[in-house]
């Protein structure tokens, strides 16, 4: 709860700072504030406090995801300094991103469907603006409009589902819904089934699962790169935490309704996300499709929900952490590479191993982690999810996921081939900002910690 207060306070402060000419100090203040938010969240560990009639429940999984979101956003602000200095409307950018963070913290800690809706909307509305924040770019405007239309559509589904479930249960509280599910012993009014499926579709839109993914590649490619990184890491973490929390708390007893549908969605997301990425030549688009395919792996955590939720939460937390850190690294390198050549194409990476060995190394580690090659953190993350799914009896889903990983390896290797196998002597020389160099070192260390001590991140 204190994290939400701190983040909202920072947001208001940054809007006011335009008046008081406080801009220069904003970045350090925001970073200190985020650290304080992490500190308060860890201080509340194991307290399990309910706020406002159980509307917000800060149990350990909420605190874990809160800390992860704040930590990722520290890395993200660090990476995005140029976005907050070179462009106009700096204070607005700060304010909007901070409110987006408030929305994501609400999404990981809600105890009530109204709070879920409020969190999603706070996050989404901020993102519509951010996606269009490169005002002079046509593709950025397109991204914002597409995202807004699709997002509004998804919210409609979600809200419809919430209303139908409220009609059956008479309450928005997650625990009341869970009690209702246990009390009904498998015989529900038809309205309830429809409600669950509507919510499933709404959430699938938000996490860009196939076949509700069409907005994602365009929005990811069109938005400014830093916003793409924001969507791929922080937003994804929050959306999955919310999805997981909803189904894990309320709908475990009715998995007959949704498990098969979600299995198909998962398989489609895995295969289509990976196969579409193979054909891309734009590096940013490859990263966008890779982000869709990773949504597929994370969906495995929800499909396998039926047994032992603490381990599932751990697995999801670990996966999002490993994925976020690797994505921050890859987007940082991508940003530097594309700035130096003014191109988003994969060819901009040619010969990076010679032109900038450090960046090429960082990119290689991130790519290997995303591809899930041991001993990188991404491998452990995938392994835990495969493990849980086999334990839950979804062995064929895992075979599908393995095939998808193979396809994934193919296009991830294209980065490594470009960097180490191709000649880039005709490309302009490249320099990395010193702050980005430090950021990459910190992120690589974080990835190394996740790789060698996978049990470090666990909420029990």
């Amino acid at each position: 709860m204190k994290s939400i207060i701190i983040l909202s306070g920072l947001g208001v402060l940054s809007l006011l700072s335009e008046i008081f000419n406080f801009k220069k100090w904003l970045m350090p203040v925001v970073l200190i504030g985020l650290m304080a938010a992490i500190g308060y969240a860890s201080y509340d560990w194991n307290t399990n406090i309910h706020y406002f009639n159980h509307m917000l429940v800060f149990d350990n999984s909420a605190l874990g995801f809160t800390m992860l979101i704040c930590a990722t956003s520290i890395l993200w602000y660090w990476m995005s300094q140029s976005y907050f200095t070179n462009e106009t409307n700096v204070t607005d950018h700060f304010g909007i991103t901070l409110f987006a963070l408030v929305g994501s913290v609400m999404m990981v800690s809600y105890g009530d469907l109204t709070m879920l809706f409020l969190g999603i909307e706070t996050l989404s509305i901020s993102l519509y603006v951010l996606a269009g924040s490169k005002k002079n770019s046509l593709s950025s405007n397109e991204a914002a409009l597409k995202y807004f239309l699709m997002g509004a559509f998804a919210t409609g589904f979600l809200l419809f589902g919430v209303a139908l479930i409220y009609g059956c249960v008479g309450s928005f509280h997650l625990y009341t819904i869970a009690d209702y599910v246990t009390a009904m012993h498998g015989t529900f009014p038809k309205m309830f089934y429809v409600g669950v499926l509507m919510m499933l579709i709404g959430m699938a839109f938000k996490v860009s699962a196939v076949p509700f993914h069409f907005w994602a590649p365009d929005v990811y490619t069109g938005s400014p790169t830093v916003i793409t990184a924001f969507m791929a890491t922080i937003v994804k973490t929050a959306a999955f935490a919310a999805f997981f929390r909803l189904f894990n708390t309320c709908f475990v007893g009715v998995e007959g309704i949704w498990v098969n549908i979600l299995s198909i969605i998962t398989l489609a997301t895995l295969l289509l996300g990976n196969i579409s990425a193979v054909m891309q030549i734009n590096a940013k688009r490859i990263l966008a499709y890779s982000s869709i395919s990773h949504a597929g792996y994370m969906l495995l955590a929800i499909v396998a929900i039926v047994n032992g939720h603490i381990i599932n939460t751990n697995a999801l937390l670990f996966y999002t952490a490993a994925y976020s850190v690797a994505s921050i690294i890859s987007f940082t390198v991508f940003m530097n590479v594309s700035n130096s050549t003014n191109s988003d194409s994969l060819n901009a990476f040619n010969g990076l191993g010679k032109r900038s060995p450090f960046m090429a190394f960082a990119m290689m580690v991130a790519i290997l982690s995303l591809a899930g090659i041991p001993p990188m953190a991404g491998f452990f993350a995938k392994l835990f999810l495969f493990f849980l799914s086999i334990r839950g009896g979804h062995i064929w889903l895992v075979v599908g996921a393995v095939i998808a990983s193979l396809v994934g390896i193919y296009y991830y290797l294209r980065f490594i081939i470009a960097m180490y196998g191709k000649d880039g002597s005709d490309l302009p020389s490249i320099t990395i900002e010193s702050s980005h160099r430090t950021l990459l070192i910190v992120a690589l260390l974080a990835l190394a910690v996740l790789s060698f001590a996978p049990s470090f991140l666990s909420i029990n």
Partner: protein, 486 residues
């Protein structure tokens, strides 16, 4: 604890090398190699001749999933660790000329050391998960070595190699997780996995057999999963080829011995015969193709494919002779194939060609070189008194006990091997020297050191194989007891 040192030392030494990729600090790599070789030799002498796992360690790595960081050596592992730590120093030494030419010499050395650490990890792991991690970890350095310093078509060829081996490994991962799920306490511990595998019904054992066998078959390679191999061997830089054929293909054979035979005995009973027949087909097929090769490196690549067919057949016959033959043959094949690829590399350095038709008459110009080559070739075609004879004799003996007909076909390997090796010797060394070969220089100091050491090893193992056989025998007998169906 010594096992942990053997795994860690190469990784630790690879860090400074990888951090300064453009320099050339061979001394660092060699220092690491000497330390690991010294420890390995020490373990060989202090090894107690029984089937127990020795020099091991066990750390609790990820308790929630029952993963232990557990490794140690029994006789079988020790022979393969010996192979790894013996060959890598020579591979590093043999790279002297290459390192002067390429643009990132330290990176190649660092990757070689990483590979060494990972290989030792594969050969000593006693936890299914740790085995898998090292198995994959060994792939990354060799992939980069082939990608960065390979021949013309390196991009598509290395991609094929990587994706091909990844298919196998991921299937193996499913198999391992599946077995771990069936252990009593959900662990990856090897003994628990043996017990779990044996308790499965025959149909599921067959499924696990194929999931795991494909990974090993691709790595070795066994016919018909070999199509990545000749291209990759031919296109890789010499040091990459030496690592691939000298050590890496033994990962597959070792995997079968340690992680397949005792794990799913009923699956092996149902499909072992198929595996033997595939191996023998591959053996004959590769030998026949080797005869008509025009590229020398490709010829050796096919010869390696042919030899490994016999080794894998010897593993699946499930008797002491066959298994012992496979283990000693893995060591000797590593030594011989390293020497052969080194000789081909020397020829290529001096004449800038690998085509058999361009060469000829080298014996007249460089008799010392030709003599060394002769000895290595004789070892490779398993002449008595050389190391190749010991392994091949035991292997054919083992296969004969299983089935005389299969042994008859497997025995052809010796004859066909003689055909393609002698033919290539004749084409390159005998005859009149031409414009390409007439300036062929004799062996230099370090080249002499490497090849003479190999000759010493060839005769030492050929004349006194017993100490090595004694090391692996108790472990082999114990393993076959565990793998038998009663």
């Amino acid at each position: 604890m010594l096992t942990a040192l053997l795994i860690l030392i190469p990784f630790v030494f690879s860090i400074p090398l990888l951090l300064s990729p453009t320099q050339n600090n061979k001394a660092i790599a060699l220092a690491s190699n000497i330390v690991t070789l010294a420890i390995t030799i020490f373990t060989c002498f202090t090894f107690e001749h029984n089937s127990n796992v020795q020099f091991g360690f066990d750390l609790n790595w990820f308790p929630a999933l029952g993963i232990h960081l557990k490794a140690g050596m029994d006789g079988i592992s020790l022979i393969l660790v010996l192979l790894t730590n013996l060959l890598v120093p020579f591979i590093v030494l043999s790279a002297e000329k290459t390192l002067e030419k390429i643009d990132k010499p330290n990176m190649m050395l660092g990757l070689t050391l990483m590979m060494q650490g990972a290989l030792v990890g594969v050969f000593t792991a006693l936890d299914g998960f740790v085995f898998y991690v090292f198995w994959e970890l060994a792939l990354i350095p060799i992939y980069l070595i082939c990608l960065m310093w390979g021949g013309e078509n390196r991009i598509s060829i290395t991609l094929k190699f990587f994706v091909y081996t990844m298919i196998g490994s991921l299937l193996m991962l499913i198999g391992l997780i599946y077995l771990a799920q069936h252990t009593a306490e959900h662990t990856f511990d090897i003994q628990a996995m043996y017990a779990a595998g044996k308790a499965l019904p025959a149909s599921q054992q067959s499924m696990v057999f194929w999931l795991m066998f494909l990974a090993f078959a691709i790595k070795m390679p066994v016919f018909p999963f070999h199509s990545w191999q000749p291209d990759t061997y031919t296109n890789a830089p010499a040091q990459g080829t030496m690592l691939l054929s000298g050590i890496m293909l033994k990962m597959g054979v070792y995997g079968v011995i340690r992680w397949l035979l005792p794990m799913v005995p009923l699956g092996v009973a149902a499909w072992g015969n198929t595996a033997i027949i595939l191996s023998v087909i591959g053996l004959l097929y590769a030998a026949c193709i080797a005869i008509v090769q025009t590229d020398y490196k490709r010829l050796i690549a096919y010869s390696s494919f042919s030899h490994v067919g016999l080794i894998s057949a010897g593993v699946f016959v499930m008797n002491v002779q066959g298994m012992q033959g496979s283990i000693i043959q893995m060591l000797t094949h590593g030594i011989n194939v390293f020497a052969l690829f080194f000789i081909v590399d020397l020829i290529e350095q001096r004449t800038h060609t690998r085509k058999l038709s361009d060469l000829g008459g080298i014996r007249g110009v460089a008799p010392g070189f030709a003599t060394v080559f002769m000895i290595v070739m004789m070892a490779s075609v398993a002449l008595p008194l050389t190391n190749g004879f010991v392994g091949e004799f035991l292997l054919i003996n083992g296969v004969y006990q299983y089935n005389a007909w299969i042994a008859a076909f497997a025995g052809l390997t010796v004859i066909l091997g003689a055909v393609y090796m002698l033919r290539s010797y004749q084409k390159t060394m005998l005859g009149e020297a031409n414009t390409i070969t007439s300036n062929f220089t004799e062996l230099s100091g370090s080249e002499k050191f490497i090849l003479y050491s190999m000759i010493v090893l060839i005769f030492a193992i050929g004349l006194f194989p017993q100490p090595l056989l004694n090391i692996s025998e108790p472990a082999v007998i114990h393993l076959l007891e565990q793998a038998s169906i009663k």
